[in-house]
């Protein structure tokens, strides 16, 4: 009976694993095909079922003569995602610390209301903000620039940073702050000298989530930039709408999702040590 249970369990895990892996393997195989291999129907194994060709990968690095430019979108995506994440985490950590340690009051507004205001921004559907953002950036002259996108992404990522860090600070004992303040630190000094160095796990978790949601956003990049600045997801989708060779598309897609897949290892590491439990709720 026990072995039967186990067999079922492993079978299920294996089935789900193949479902997860399948799109990646399919894209990998497709990226080595040429027109002949694509139009003759679905094939999977190179050499056996089709003759591999490297033109898909070559087209990505051929100085734009084939009309595909991967380098600029890559750099833009990295600049926007990293800057917005850093700003959001800096502002979010400060705000989260303030909310977890001090009492704020303005009329009927209390700490919990301010916290809720921060976090509830995730409910806002992007489409609601798209048009005003468009007009706002136009007025500021920031349409189609990385600065405009960074501004918008901060609004997108700040709630995530606050959400993760409030929970994290909630689990750091207050005695730690008090000790520092007895030693003569003012709250700001206590925060930078004692609390911040002890917050690295929380900062890493917040950073991971900011990177995931920043790197993977498509909608704002799509509505707020046109020709001068292009982010990765927009570059790929614009390839998709023209008549695109599947091989270039697949190679492009694989390269663009590769860096974040590494984050999965980091997340698992935190999960196994149990330090995600406090950060996610």
């Amino acid at each position: 009976m026990r072995t039967f249970y186990l067999a079922i369990k492993y079978l299920a895990l294996l089935l789900w694993s193949s479902f997860i892996v399948f799109p990646f393997l399919w894209a990998l195989s497709t990226s080595f095909k040429d027109a002949n291999a694509i139009t003759s129907g679905a094939t999977y194994i190179p050499w056996l079922q089709f003759k591999p060709s490297s033109q898909g990968w070559a087209s990505l690095f051929s100085d734009g003569s084939t009309g595909i430019n991967i380098v600029d979108p890559y750099i833009n995506s990295a600049i926007v995602t990293i800057s917005a994440s850093v700003i959001s985490i800096a502002l979010g950590t400060l705000a989260a610390y303030g909310l977890s340690r001090f009492e704020f009051r303005a009329g009927f507004v209390k700490n919990s209301d301010i916290t809720f205001f921060f976090i509830s921004q995730r409910i806002m559907p992007p489409i609601v903000l798209a048009i005003p953002f468009f007009l706002m950036l136009k007025t500021l002259g920031l349409l189609d620039t990385v600065y405009g996108l960074i501004l918008v992404y901060v609004a997108l990522l700040l709630p995530i940073a606050v959400w993760v860090m409030i929970d994290f600070f909630g689990n750091i004992p207050r005695e730690l702050d008090e000790l520092a303040m007895i030693d003569g630190c003012r709250p700001i000094g206590a925060f930078f000298r004692v609390i911040l160095p002890n917050s690295v796990p929380g900062l890493v978790v917040a950073g991971m989530f900011c990177l995931i949601f920043g790197w993977n956003d498509f909608f704002f990049a799509f509505t707020l930039t046109f020709t001068k600045v292009q982010l990765l997801p927009v570059a790929i989708v614009s390839l998709n709408s023209s008549v695109t060779p599947w091989w270039s598309l697949s190679a492009f897609a694989l390269i663009s999702v590769a860096p974040l897949v590494l984050i999965a290892f980091l997340v698992e590491n935190f999960l196994s040590k149990g330090s995600l439990a406090g950060a996610i709720r």
Binding site: W26, L94, Y97, F118, P187, L249
Partner: protein, 288 residues
């Protein structure tokens, strides 16, 4: 001395208010104007846009479609995610391998993977039909009939976001206390009874949180739809966000789309609040 506290809170608060509140107020103002591509500008036409929303069946249909899509995809994600989390929670072989693998899809860009999925669902050249034929099930017109297109979007959503559910639930499982399990073992409870009487009740708060977080994200679905089906065939996969996008940024009916998005936002907030309350009443033990 405690002036310091404003140093912490204000920068973040001011930035967020500046970036979010002004656009929101602006949207409210615009929704009372007839701003469109022919007459850009802020005139005042009263509630006419909202009256039009009320009669716009295409909007209400898209909302119904969105609710079916998000509720069914989140339920599937919850059941599968919970099962997977339970499976790799305790010691098993290759545990870390499975855990990493199960997290991978949520790290990938939804639109980029949708581009790949579109080739998978290609009706004559894609592997989905190829595999179905190989098992002898015949082919499915994946993206050209309404129901099938809806199911393909559902499949992609489940693939993409089950990992997030898995992550939240596994993080919860890892942090559960050990004593109740000892007690259950002493009582001689089997695995199923242990799950029903110990694990599930202990996980109830996390369950509610995870479902609500996923419903919030799912209620915004439009990118997958945009890439895979463009809302089609006809309007078979058109979600509310996507419909508002068409009205606003494609037809440039700015005033009308502002009214649509406010209606959508209010409906979203109200229904998510109700769902959260109902879930809490169903799953949490009554207090007092």
């Amino acid at each position: 001395m405690y002036r310091d506290k404003y140093f912490f809170l204000l920068p973040g608060l001011v930035v967020l208010i500046a970036i979010i509140i002004f656009p929101l107020l602006f949207t409210i103002r615009v929704s009372f104007s007839s701003w469109d591509v022919f007459q850009p500008g802020l005139d005042y036409i009263g509630g006419r846009n909202f009256a039009r929303v009320f009669e716009d069946t295409r909007f209400w249909e898209s909302l119904l479609r969105l609710s079916v899509l998000s509720v069914s995809s989140v339920l599937l994600q919850y059941v599968i995610g919970f099962a997977l989390a339970l499976a790799v929670w305790r010691e098993i072989r290759f545990r870390r391998f499975f855990r990493v693998l199960f997290l991978v899809p949520m790290m990938t860009t939804p639109v980029v993977m949708s581009v790949i999925w579109r080739t998978i669902f290609h009706e004559s050249l894609g592997p989905a039909n190829d595999i179905l034929q190989a098992i002898g099930l015949g082919t499915v017109p994946w993206l050209s009939t309404g129901t099938a297109a809806f199911i393909s979007v559902l499949i992609v959503e489940v693939w993409q976001w089950t990992p997030f559910m898995f992550l939240l639930l596994l993080a919860g499982l890892v942090s559960l206390p050990r004593e109740p399990y000892l007690a259950a073992a002493i009582d001689g409870a089997g695995p199923i009874r242990t799950f029903l009487q110990v694990t599930f009740p202990l996980m109830a708060p996390i369950t509610i949180g995870a479902i609500i977080i996923r419903l919030i994200e799912a209620s915004k679905i439009m990118e997958t739809v945009y890439v895979m089906t463009s809302g089609g065939p006809g309007t078979a996969t058109e979600t509310s966000s996507y419909y508002i996008y068409i009205r606003g940024l494609r037809d440039f009916q700015i005033g009308y789309s502002a009214a649509l998005s406010l209606t959508y936002l209010v409906i979203m907030i109200v229904s998510l609040t109700i769902i959260a309350k109902v879930l809490a009443r169903m799953l949490l033990p009554r207090e007092g």
